[in-house]
């Protein structure tokens, strides 16, 4: 059992291998409550595995993971996961998709759930799309619906696998602002995988640089301030700095 401490997520010597290939090797990590962490690193270093382990989808071969002092043995109630593929169901209208987690958790009467859903849809400017099916929505709208589906449960931990990778530049910025707004509103701890250094610098208070074999480096984001804008001094300098660390002396 874990000792009481200020870290919200704690990984103790976590090892995970798949088909005899060690993906994460004795990883120990402490993540603070309410902070946002951008997970970056080259393909195949175990970014998705790390997120899936914290979500409880995977079990470590050795070591333990604690969230809020509780050891993770399966999927935790207040953890929300935004998948890269979104996983919207073709048969669910927007209003049904966003309400589904509340119905699954039996979070109240149907009318109460409906009111909560409509209020969130209004906040996210999705109200006019409430009776649309996913195929009738644009990529950005689908992303917002998937985001609403995880936000409706007021999670204290948000895990996201490349949340904006498939979006155009402008929609990407809109979604990033939305993520930032709700992470701060819910005071949720957030871990997100990204291949976009600018996104990592914009959304992450800390940047978790994962390296082959499961070693990592935590970089404090000097740009991080609330509120923030890309035009602020230091944003692009920070991006260049992170890029250098990511390349780790390699030439492109």
């Amino acid at each position: 059992m874990s000792n009481a401490e200020d870290s919200f997520i704690r990984l103790d010597d976590v090892t995970f291998s798949y088909r005899e290939k060690i993906i994460l090797n004795k990883v120990s990590l402490k993540l603070k409550k309410g902070d946002s962490y951008a997970v970056i690193g080259k393909s195949g270093v175990g970014k998705s595995t790390l997120l899936h382990l914290i979500a409880g989808f995977l079990k470590p071969n050795a070591g333990s993971i604690y969230i809020d002092q509780q050891e993770i043995k399966s999927v935790r109630k207040n953890t929300a996961f935004l998948f890269q593929e979104l996983g919207l169901f073709p048969w669910q209208k927007v209003v049904q998709a966003v309400g589904m987690p509340l119905h699954l958790n039996k979070a109240g009467k149907a009318s109460e759930i409906q009111n909560r859903v409509l209020s969130l849809l209004k906040e996210l400017d999705l109200e006019h799309l409430k009776n649309k099916y996913p195929r009738e929505l644009s990529g950005g709208e689908q992303q917002r619906v998937a985001l609403a589906r995880i936000l409706i449960t007021n999670p204290d931990l948000i895990l996201m696998d490349e949340p904006t990778s498939s979006l155009d530049a402008m929609t990407k910025e809109q979604i990033q602002q939305l993520i930032l707004k709700y992470q701060q509103k819910l005071k949720a701890t957030m871990l997100f995988i990204t291949h976009d250094i600018e996104e990592a610098v914009y959304l992450g208070k800390h940047i978790l640089l994962l390296k082959p074999g499961g070693t990592f480096q935590v970089i404090e984001n000097s740009f991080y301030s609330v509120p923030r804008a890309r035009e602020q001094l230091g944003y692009y300098e920070q991006c260049i700095e992170i890029r250098k660390l990511l390349m780790d002396g390699e030439t492109i």
């Binding site: 979500a55 989808f57 999927v75 109630k77 953890t79 929300a80 996961f81 998948f83 593929e85 979104l86 996983g87 169901f89 073709p90 048969w91 669910q92 589904m100 987690p101 119905h103 699954l104 958790n105 099916y133 195929r135 449960t153």
Partner: protein, 247 residues
């Protein structure tokens, strides 16, 4: 263009093209075995009450067969889709039995269930149940893994996975299976109703054939076509209500 699209979608075009082809064959062959469509239509209208009675008898058999096949076939298809073990055990049997002409089992059903309606309905079930099982099983196989993961991330129970994911996902496949099943069961009436009955459109056609009354025979054939059109239209309407996202 829009009107043309709607027209091409309508069943009327299908019926008209059938009539044109029929008329062409009639004019080319010039034999009493292929009467003219007009003569057949006039004959059918004059015997509408008789045709309605025979159609109703056939419809009852088909609907009973389809209903029972769904009640048995859907759960088997679902179990086959979700249980790997059951899949391994049952799939080889399914692949073996699926291509065998089911009509070949007719003597066995007659022996086991008598000559009445039971053996006829069981023959229809035997013909279409495998189609329904396979449609449902394939429907489950096509559910993307990510959708199960989404359900897991919300800690959905097994029942909730069926309610929110599996059942809606297989609905369009059930309708596809039903569409194929309706076609096959209408075709199978010809065999199922050729013994121990005096009601049914299959019987009507065979009886006309043996009397060498080809106008009557073709009016029966045309009626089967119309029955099919009506059943498909009803199915389309139900699908639009039950699975509107698929349209």
């Amino acid at each position: 263009m829009k009107l043309l699209k709607r027209f091409s979608k309508s069943q009327l075009l299908g019926f008209l093209s059938f009539l044109i082809l029929w008329e062409a064959v009639h004019l080319l062959l010039r034999t009493h075995t292929v009467p003219s469509p007009w003569e057949t239509i006039v004959y059918s209208i004059s015997r509408i009450d008789k045709l309605a009675l025979h159609s109703l008898a056939s419809l009852l058999r088909i609907l009973t067969g389809i209903g029972i096949s769904m009640v048995i076939g859907i759960p088997i298809g679902i179990y086959l889709g979700v249980s790997q073990k059951f899949g391994y055990l049952f799939s080889p049997f399914l692949y073996f039995i699926y291509p065998i002409p089911k009509i070949a089992f007719l003597p066995v059903f007659m022996l086991l269930f008598g000559l009445g309606d039971t053996s006829k309905v069981i023959l229809i079930i035997w013909i279409i149940i495998f189609q329904i099982i396979i449609s449902v099983r394939d429907g489950i196989a096509q559910i993307p893994k990510i959708q199960y993961k989404v359900m897991d991330s919300f800690q959905a129970s097994a029942f909730q996975k069926y309610r929110f994911l599996i059942i809606p996902a297989i609905l369009p496949h059930i309708f596809t299976g039903l569409r194929i099943s309706i076609g096959i069961s209408l075709a199978s009436l010809f065999f199922a109703e050729n013994y121990a009955t005096v009601y049914g459109i299959g019987y009507y056609i065979i009886s006309a054939w043996t009397k060498m009354n080809y106008v009557e025979m073709f009016s029966g054939i045309m009626t089967i076509g119309i029955l099919g059109v009506i059943l498909y239209q009803i199915l389309d309407e139900i699908e639009l209500k039950v699975a509107p996202w698929n349209k």
